[in-house]
Amino acid sequence: METSLAITLSMLLPASAVVTNLLFRNNPNLRDGLTLFAAIATFFVVLNILTTVGNTTTETFVLLEVIPGLELAFNVEPLGLMFAILASGLWIVTHIYGIGYMRGNNEDDHARFFACFSFAIFSVMGIAFAANMFTLFLFYEVLTLSTYPLVAHKGTLAAVKGARTYLSILIGTSIGLQLVAVIWTFSIAGTLDFTKGGILEGLIAGPAVAILLALYAFGIGKAALMPFHRWLPAAMVAPTPVSALLHAVAVVKAGVFTMLKVGIYIFGIDFLATTEASVWLMWLAAFSIIASSVIALTKDNLKARLAYSTISQLSYITLGVALATSMGVLGGSLHVVMHAMGKITLFMCAGSIYVATHKTNISQMSGLGRAMPITFIAFLIGSLSIIGLPPLGGSWSKWLLIMGAADAGQLVMIGVLLISSLLNVAYLLPVAGKGFFLKTPNQADPTKFSESPTLVWGPPAFTAFGCIVLFFYAGHIQAFLMPIIAAP
């Protein structure tokens, strides 16, 4: 298949799922089946791109030129392809889970829900294959708008308020800061194309580099760098499939993916390293990692705890960029995959517990592990991967990040990563621990609960298995990503 055709298809398929969802809103099986078909087809189209282009960077294909120099253009490069595979693959899993969850939970407005969901995936594909910052920014905003109805889905006062926080922070940072950064970049470089080695070297110097980086780093609100992280816990009012795919994978990863793209292809890692413009970002990311882990410790609501854990883990990736070393960037990129697989498992387990027992707080989950063993084992595996223990995927990305910190000569950062791992242990393991080892405190009989429906426990079990598989295939992914750090 032609690459341009494949890219177009990978975006058209989710877009068509939006239409079929709205058309067949009253025929649930046909509607959900067609969406599943679209998800699988999207995944295969993306895999087809993988087999034909591998980890090379393809020619840019320009859809149209909006303003001279500003093009809506797409291409395939390793980082984007990895993101596309990740998002489209996990879309299948989450869609299956979503059908089970939405039906099992008697949620309303399935058609609107899945339509917005597909629309979000459409924008993610646009982000993944964007060939310049303009295109990326466009889809970045579309992603925000398409996920807003998902956050507000329940329509309760809490949902409306959460959605308001979600939108105001994401739109506020992107229009208020990122847009200025993008236009500034355009006005000094005359282009926004993602280019190996960056496009800014020699065109900007002194404190302006750090200011521009700050506009990007805070402007990319989806990366949830403190102090612009509040939207992520706020988004947890959404139904769990949304939290699982969008707020553990698609949306937040779109954020750090943008951060990686900006670091690698706009500034250039070497340029960042020589100007030392990213040192402050490194410290801020480190603060973000530790602070949000500590906050996670205090949260009793499981989804809130996972949300703060996500904020912390996203900052790992920002840290990888800010270290401005090859290993750091590589570790950050690998962490996109590893964290995605781990965190989606955890969220789907949280949803599974909710469907089966309607419990949301960790303190109420004592003893549930015996009633729902698969869910809790999957949760344990996911936790261990996030913590970064072998033989689970998460261990490799942390390893590379630590090497990156060592390369940069930032020994404190190694300490930060280690402390963070310990904090991860402290806030994640008790969940599975309480589930398995504690007795149910009050008179309630744990045996009255049983495992959630197959469509709900199956997907997290699958992704938990994926965490183990990733441990053995991390080398392949690393080799696949090598071109992004190769000298231009």
Partner: protein, 509 residues
């Protein structure tokens, strides 16, 4: 032989396009009254405006590359005779005015039918065309006094059109009267300014004026004339502290009238302002008199923030949009103040993009007014479910108003920020995006009201009729279309900006 004759006629017609542009609605307006049949009024008005739109398209296609068409009325050569001149700047505005009129009329058919008694409807269409004639004349003429004449034609008909809202709400009468007073003061100031210029130069043709003014920038008469023109036109534009007539006029006018005025009237006034300060006076004159620093920057920024902040606290959607319009005019003034090609392009592009965006929004409001009988937020609750098509189009308009990428509103804001950065005014670029964020607040308040609030009324509310939905969706989709396809808009804006920046030499043939 026959073909030759046809060819000859066609040639003549093509040559007369500039005058036909004004003449067709001008003649149809009294024709409608003379015929006096209500069922014929609408078709005649529509044919006239569609023909005008066609002419505007032809004119724009001729000058978009940077050309100029000069038409001498009655064969009297300027500066003695009245000249019509079409270049990219005003052809683009003609395109906007006629295009919006052609879309508003099908929309008006149902909306006017519901909002006005039958006996006034015939006169309404006649007045509508008259108002359009005025706006087109103001735009196309190259004679300064002729601008005043057409301005009065459009203003007088506008006062009556606004007053038609009194069948729905009596406050339309005071709104109209208020506008009458303010508008007349504006027009008087404008004509006093022209008088001063005439005193100094003895001519009224714009190119001739520019020529003769060149040596007299120190003259107090000329400076006073400039000040009068600026304030007079500023009232029509609704530059921030001169905007008091606008919110009530927009709120209480019939929906179709509000849509037409919001999308065209202030835009035409902005064009006249551009024409006077760049072509009749020179950009250098602006610098010399510090007009930009004293008037444009502060009032543009004030409008962007004060009017947006006021919009946030409105309880009536129509009034909210009116305040948002005042804020958006701030952007256009800012583009002028930046005094660069990119800045002017931003102004001209925004003039168009904001025109279609507001048209979409006000058409949506009209649909709500029709079905829900009110435009207060409290009565709009939950309409996203009952009027899905209207609401979806309104959301598209709202998103374009914010300037989200992929919409027309985004491109003009992009250019504006870029223009500010080019000049090194990064605080201004931050202010532009900051005021966009205020737009997020007021637009999102609307979205939450429409989609996330429980319906307030017991009666079932139906979707708006197709004849209103269709024009609404055409402009809504135009908001997206012109967010990607920019050959027409950006091409015209670029040619216009270049011509304007060339100063009076841009007026030469």
């Amino acid at each position: 032989m026959a073909t030759q004759t046809t060819h000859h006629v066609a040639m003549t017609l093509a040559d007369h396009l500039p005058i036909l542009q004004v003449l067709i609605p001008f003649i149809t307006a009294p024709l409608i009254v003379f015929i006096g049949r209500r069922e014929l009024a609408w078709p005649l008005a529509f044919i006239a405006s569609a023909t005008s739109f066609l002419i505007a398209c032809l004119l724009l296609s001729k000058v978009i590359g940077g050309g100029v068409i000069s038409y001498q009325i009655g064969g009297w050569a300027p500066p003695l005779g009245i000249e019509y001149r079409v270049d990219a700047a005003n052809a683009f505005v003609l395109f906007l005015v006629t295009g919006i009129a052609t879309l508003v009329l099908p929309y008006a058919r149902y909306s006017v039918g519901a909002e006005m008694p039958q006996r006034t409807q015939t006169l309404f269409y006649s007045l509508f065309l008259l108002c359009m004639t005025g706006l087109l004349g103001v735009t196309i003429t190259a004679d300064a006094f002729n601008v005043f004449v057409f301005l009065e034609i459009s203003s007088l008909s506008t006062y009556v059109l606004i007053a038609q809202g009194s069948y729905r709400d009596k406050r339309a009468l005071t709104a109209s009267f208020n506008y009458l007073i303010m508008g007349t003061i504006g027009a008087t100031f404008f004509v006093i300014g022209l008088g001063f210029l005439y005193m100094a130069t003895g001519t009224l043709n714009m190119a001739d004026l520019a020529d003769r003014l060149a040596g007299q920038y120190d003259s107090r008469t000329v400076r006073a004339g400039f000040a009068f023109i600026l304030v007079g036109m500023g009232l029509k534009v609704a530059i921030f502290p001169l905007h008091f007539w606008l919110p009530n006029a927009y709120t209480y006018a019939p929906s179709a009238v509000t849509t037409f005025l919001a999308a065209t009237a202030t835009k035409v006034a902005v064009y006249v302002l551009l024409r006077f300060i760049f072509s009749v006076f020179q950009p250098a004159f602006l610098a010399e008199t510090s007009t930009l620093e004293i008037i444009f920057y502060p009032f543009a920024l004030l409008a962007m923030f004060a009017a947006s902040a006021t919009a946030i606290f409105q309880r009536d959607l129509k009034r909210m949009l009116a305040y948002s319009s005042i804020a958006q005019i701030g952007y256009m003034l800012l583009g002028i103040a930046l005094l660069s090609e990119t800045g002017l392009m931003a102004t001209i592009l925004h003039l168009f993009n904001h025109g279609i965006t507001k048209a979409a929004l006000f058409m949506g409001v009209g649909a709500y007014a029709l079905r829900s009988k009110s435009t207060f937020y409290i009565d709009l609750q939950g309409l996203g479910k009952t009027m899905p098509w209207t609401s979806a189009a309104v959301v598209i308009g709202g998103v374009s108003l914010i300037g989200v990428p992929g919409t027309a509103g985004f491109l003009s804001k992009w250019l504006l920020v870029q223009a500010a950065l080019e000049q090194g005014y990064w605080p201004i670029s931050m202010l532009i995006v900051a005021s966009s964020l205020l737009a997020v607040i007021y637009v999102w308040r609307l979205v939450e009201t429409l989609y996330l609030s429980a319906p307030n009324s017991e009666q079932p509310i139906r979707e708006a009729p197709l004849s209103m939905l269709l024009p609404l969706w055409i402009v809504a989709l135009a908001c997206i279309y012109f967010g990607f396809e920019t050959d027409i808009t950006l091409g015209a804006a670029k040619a216009a900006a270049q011509a304007l920046l060339a100063g009076s030499s841009g007026m030469m043939h």
